[in-house]
Symmetry: C2
Subunit: 314 residues, 2 copies
């Protein structure tokens, strides 16, 4: 399958480390050292996962090499929902009047974007769809407790959307060579390391250390695995597009893979942890740099202990 | 694909119309007349979508014709989540130590159960899984405002789980002949008829009339369509298993299809509206009655304006 077009949306409002320094009694430098984050984007009044999804679909629309109304599958992804019944995928169908589509919303923790892509792959394999729209949107800050000194400063908001087709449509399409996802919730601390309980303590990263250890290991081995299974090695990799949960995880993965800095794509410095949207936004930000035959790997691991890996070839 | 085993779980605590009559200033008879509901089941202390999922998976385990640990795909479904990061699907993976599984959680409004089944079909089509566990769990009452006289009395809690395999495993397996899902969010009132906004007004059925009209029409035509496409007609149908949102919708569908009462499966009288779990629970309740060559259709339409239809053959 092929990604034909991609767009991202990040809200205007900036929240700096100075803001959290005042609330949390940490210096700006300490926050940066813990996370690699200097600032994050936060939704304005009335914005939520549904409105951001509509906004990013609108940014995508002129780039799609077919009419948006031809889409026959909409897959939405978020773990920070505005509405779990009138979901972001339904909102996009509604406002763009996409009349003949299967519509699915996924909420599979930090890997939701890669899970969404694999669900598209499944619909293509069944022959039930051929032109999909994938929309990922995270509104972490509305579920965040800013006074939490352990994780309150991590979160940011943002969205990404892309058109995905079964067959190649233009020569600029990027091929999705392989998608692999896996649950690691059998690991001891999986159920308590990261949580988002809408009616209880909302979003909480309670055991960053365990996430760091497992994410570093699995995002690394999954990247190696997906390259090897497809006859490539790390020297062939142009861009690594990792989940943006913490810069220390990203640096560790880059180091373990022996990648030079320029090939590891990051946005966490200025967007914060945008959850399952983070790697999709990073892919969108890398899109125009991709040259013919370039390889990129999207590798994610996070809360729920949910992982995903995707090999892309321009 | 085939359903090999199925189980359901409903909490012990009963909430009668008397309870709502006192709160809402409606008579018990008025509540029954509006909804067809006499009582509903409500979770006890500490219960939620994750705990109900574990409970129902435990009830299912002895019925599965293979080891639960052989499951290679877990698909969870809910629109009333306890935790959107450590999801119900991850909770099941965790407690049953299912080590080699892809794990997905879906949150696609009232059709989530049928969407989950179609996602399984996709993984089977890709050759990425062959033994799946589908778990649906709804905790409507925690998101409900009991003082809402329009919809506060509708909701109940419950869960269902089933094992689904690519190939037939026993002669008691029920074949999933076809699954069809579709989004109807392009309809005018789709985004405001039913909502569940965790951080705003929670679960709200604001336009039951529009839901009634569209649900009656689409659950009827989808049932006719799926039978016809597979060379059957209504006379061949043994059981219709509709989404249990309101008895008036169910009666209307039964009437439009010309079905006699015994063939339309209901549980809303004593469970209330258990959301996307309702038809899965009803299927579980019908399971032992299914005879060789019996046909059943699961047909759902609800919030988000999301529909799904599934033809089953014993």
């Amino acid at each position: 399958m092929f990604i034909n077009s991609i767009a991202h949306y990040i809200p205007e409002q900036i929240l700096t480390n100075e803001h959290f320094s005042k609330i949390l009694g940490l210096t700006e430098e300490e926050i940066f050292k813990k996370s690699g984050i200097k600032q994050r984007r936060v939704t304005g009044a009335g914005e939520n996962t549904n409105t951001m999804s509509v906004k990013v679909a609108g940014l995508l629309q002129p780039k799609i090499p077919f009419d948006l109304q031809e889409v026959d599958l909409i897959v939405g992804a978020t773990y920070s929902p505005h509405d779990t019944v009138a979901t972001l995928a339904h909102q996009v169908q509604h406002l763009f009047k996409i009349e003949n589509a299967q519509v699915v919303s996924v909420s599979t923790a930090c890997s939701s974007y890669v899970n969404a892509m694999e669900i598209v792959e499944g619909y293509f394999a069944m022959g039930k769809a051929s032109k999909a729209l994938v929309v990922v949107s995270e509104h972490n800050t509305i579920y965040n407790d800013e006074s939490n000194s352990y994780s309150g400063f991590l979160w940011g908001d943002g969205a990404a959307a892309m058109s995905v087709t079964k067959e190649r449509i233009t020569e600029n399409d990027v091929e999705v060579v392989e998608i692999e996802t896996r649950g690691y919730a059998h690991f001891a601390k999986a159920m308590h390391a990261v949580n988002l309980r809408p009616l209880e303590d909302r979003i909480q990263m309670k055991d960053g250390k365990d996430v760091f250890m497992n994410a570093s290991k699995l995002m690394t081995s999954n990247t190696q695995g997906i390259l090897e299974r497809n006859g490539f090695n790390l020297k062939d990799l142009t861009y690594l597009i990792p989940h943006q949960a913490n810069m220390r995880i990203i640096n560790k993965v880059g180091e373990m893979l022996g990648l030079h800095n320029g090939s590891v794509v990051t946005n966490i410095e200025y967007l914060g942890n945008t959850g399952s949207a983070s790697s999709a936004i990073a892919l969108s930000q890398t899109w125009d740099k991709l040259q013919k035959d370039n390889l990129a790997v999207v590798t994610v691991f996070g809360g729920g202990y949910s992982s995903g890996c995707m090999l892309l070839k321009k």
